[in-house]
């Protein structure tokens, strides 16, 4: 049973979605930073996809040099604040902290990072100055997600004019549209986005989807193009009843939730289909929206879920219950409403997933959330000449993040199929340097 009441106001919504990693105050940051051992060749740095010099910024916090700490963070990761709050630190930096080997609580690196970056964002501390004169070259970026914005920041530092084309009305991509609200608030994301744009001075063209050959041709007037479009809508299951309005994709559900908060419509009994982190998030969120019952249904066993254990624990705490080794075969619905999901029980035989015969049963519900992965935006990608995709429809890039069309670079979910914000931020920054090398050094190398 869910412990949350249905939120009817913004205040009630905020209470139900209170921060999982609240901001530290100065004292807490001071005591926490005092514990850092300052390891040599620190494993936390290696565990960070953007290789932030973590022991350095922690020591800078400890010596009351918050501007310096934030600079250390942003030098490696332009999404420093968002990542501090949304990164799965348990499996990244904090998971690598040597204290784990001593049964001592790992340093709360994510929260310390958010503390330092929050300081510079809220106090509008200018850490970067882009070159006064641009170098005369222009780069277009498609998508204002973590990959795109990181690429934009770095290119601006290198002297480029940068235009970012964003299909939606807000920047940061999934950071604002796809992260669970208890991890990061809309305000925090937008504050960081404004902070970056103010310092780096790139242009974002909102509500400007690129969807035709003509759009592409226009873009190709730029010296280079970076694709940071992420993924598309949730993929379909191919079962009866899934087109019902109350059967929604998880990505779409979270986007509505992020934008409409307490006004989001959630059923009384919700079944979430999937076993990844997005499924777990959706289950947590449905529970926090006051659903009476939330079932997380997954084809395989609990142990085989791709979602992190700590995320599943959080979902359970929110009130969701797991239903394992079951596959949906039909969404049972009338024209007005969904009444249940028909499942069949599954078993793994010789590491192959098999249906158990005659094991069908119906689990009642009035809403279904499909968290069965996001589709790739193949239609758009096919518009670009010579752009090759791999067998999973991911854009193929070389080690320089350059696609098979040398004018195009790509990074983030569009090349990795769906990872963390921090991975996208890392890709975008490195890709910018490679774009710079291509445009300034030697074309032949590529």
């Amino acid at each position: 049973m869910s412990e949350y009441k249905i939120p009817t106001t913004e205040t009630e919504f905020e209470a139900n979605f209170s921060a999982k990693k609240p901001l530290m105050d100065k004292n807490e940051a001071f005591y926490e930073s005092s514990r850092c051992l300052f390891c040599y060749d620190a494993p936390c740095i290696k565990a960070c996809p953007t290789s932030i010099d973590i022991p350095l910024f922690i020591r800078q916090i400890n010596t009351n040099n918050l501007d310096g700490a934030a600079k250390t963070i942003y030098d490696s990761n332009y999404f420093g604040h968002s990542c501090g709050q949304v990164c799965p630190t348990d499996v990244l930096c904090e998971g690598a902290c040597v204290y784990n080997h001593q049964d001592v609580k790992a340093i709360e690196i994510g929260r310390l990072q958010a503390h330092a970056t929050n300081h510079v964002i809220q106090n509008d501390k200018k850490l970067y100055t882009v070159p006064e004169k641009t170098n005369g070259k222009k780069v277009a970026i498609i998508g204002s997600g973590a990959a795109g914005i990181a690429c934009a920041c770095e290119l601006r530092m290198l002297g480029y004019t940068v235009d970012v084309y964003e299909a939606k009305e807000k920047p940061s991509g999934l950071t604002i549209y796809g992260i669970a609200p208890y991890k990061l608030t809309n305000q925090a994301v937008l504050d960081e986005m404004n902070y970056l744009q103010k310092q780096f001075g790139y242009t974002i063209k909102y509500n400007s989807p690129i969807h035709s050959q003509a759009d592409i041709l226009k873009l190709e007037e730029y010296d280079a193009i970076f694709i940071g479009i992420g993924l598309g809508n949730t993929s379909t299951l191919g079962i009866k009843g899934e087109n019902h309005a109350d059967c929604i994709g998880a990505t779409e559900f979270i986007e509505v939730l992020r934008m409409q908060h307490h006004k989001t419509k959630v059923g009384k009994k919700v079944i979430v289909l999937g076993g990844g982190n997005t499924a777990i998030d959706a289950a947590s969120e449905a529970a926090r929206m006051g659903a009476e019952k939330v079932i997380l249904a997954y084809r395989r066993s609990k142990e085989e879920m791709s979602g992190y254990d700590f995320e599943y624990d959080l979902a359970k705490k929110s009130g969701a219950v797991g239903l394992f080794n079951v596959a949906p075969v039909e969404i049972i619905a009338s024209a007005e409403k969904i009444t249940g999901v028909k499942f069949v029980k599954m078993q793994t035989v010789n590491s192959k997933l098999e249906v158990i015969k005659d094991s069908e049963f119906i689990e009642e519900c009035d809403m279904v959330i499909r968290a069965t992965g996001q589709l790739k935006q193949v239609g758009f990608l096919n518009l670009i000449t010579d752009l090759k995709l791999d067998d999973k429809d991911r854009v193929i890039v070389n080690s320089k993040f350059q696609t098979t069309n040398p004018k195009y670079f790509a990074g983030g979910d569009v090349i990795n199929g769906g990872k963390e914000v921090v991975n996208a931020a890392a890709d975008g920054k490195v890709a910018a340097r490679e774009i710079h090398l291509m445009l300034t050094v030697d074309f032949k190398e590529f």
Binding site: S34, C39, Y40, D41, P43, N62, V98, H101, Q102
Partner: protein, 447 residues
Amino acid sequence: MANLSVNFAGIKSPNPFWLASAPPTNSGYQIMKAFDAGWGGAVWKTLGVPVINVSSRYGALNYRDTRMMGFNNIELITDRPLKDNLREIEEVKKYFPNNAVIASLMVETREQWHQIVKDVENAGADGIELNFGCPHGMCERGMGSAVGQDPVVLQTIVSWVMEVAKIPVIVKLTPNISHIQDPANAAQAGGANAVSLINTIQSVINVDIDNFVPTPMVDGKSTNGGYCGPAVKPIALNMVKNVALEPGFKLPISGIGGVENWKDAVEFVLMGSSTVQVCTAAMHYGFGIIREITSGFERYMDEKGFKTVDEMVGKALPQTKHWEELNLKYKVVAEINEDKCIGCQLCYIACEDGAHQAIGLSSDADNRKPHIIEENCVGCNLCSLVCPVENCITMVRRDDGKQHLTWKERTEQGTIPTTFNDELAGGLHHWVPEPADALKNKTLQKN
């Protein structure tokens, strides 16, 4: 069961733990509270011609989240009238006849010394401590450390006091001197019954970097103060040892300097102190810390089989030698317990950058546990000191224990190095990398 009671130069006390002359002993009220909490004695805040103190008096040296690792003050002696203090001494002794009340004194002339000694005796004090140590404010007027730094003056004043004193007299020494044995000997020669040390160390504790003024700040200005607290303990222990080992020096020593817990107190006693005085810890945590000091000290005595405190006094002194008497044949090397190692590699970088390049890393990037390169290890201890895991790095003996040769003996044999490139030098066969090797491994350089 351990007996904690002591007789220090004729001053009886239920335990060897006294409050040092300082703000915690400013009044009878505080001292009664302290005795009630379990302190054996108290040295009254220094009496004399009352002063005027400034507002803003203390500064602290913090180490990360540890507050007041070091502490300094620019407060002077008592600012309260003598008659009030005398009346309170009398009252304290009435309530606590078995606790030691020692009056700390600081005046200028022979007449003043005679008068004030008689006054505190009449009030019922069990002993007197002569404050020849205060390093700020009073010394500029020819008192405090100005006396402690001049053995001739010190001896003269001690002899003035001894002309009239009927109760034991302790001379408190200043550490602001290069050879502490000189004033200690002068105190003995002047007829004092004991010495206490150390007083505070002259210091500037911090500088306010926004206002360009040291701390503590008084109306935009500051001055040097007296440094104390846990950070000064090593300096105090060394000075106590110097006095205790001084040939011909026979007076009991009251040890002072950074004592905060039972172990600190034990260390002072083992280095030759018969009583231990505490101030900063009481100012930080209140008189209640005495319970921890007493319980730990007693447990230690019972565990080691000491019946009285006297049995412990100076126990570590026979093992405290001049450098030239240490065995050059003794050889230890570091050993890392792989099961305990958490892979922080602090030992590696400490040895690599700060010592002898005797710790190596695995070529397997997943194995963060360093290993000792024993042929390079000189047994300096640095790795074991920086290691955050208790007993993970230990120093193990490698010599056979049969050989013994000291610098002194080598000097006598004529086998010490005497020229700049002497083959007899100790580091001749120690491996060191070539300077340019430093640039081979640039893994830490970003991008």
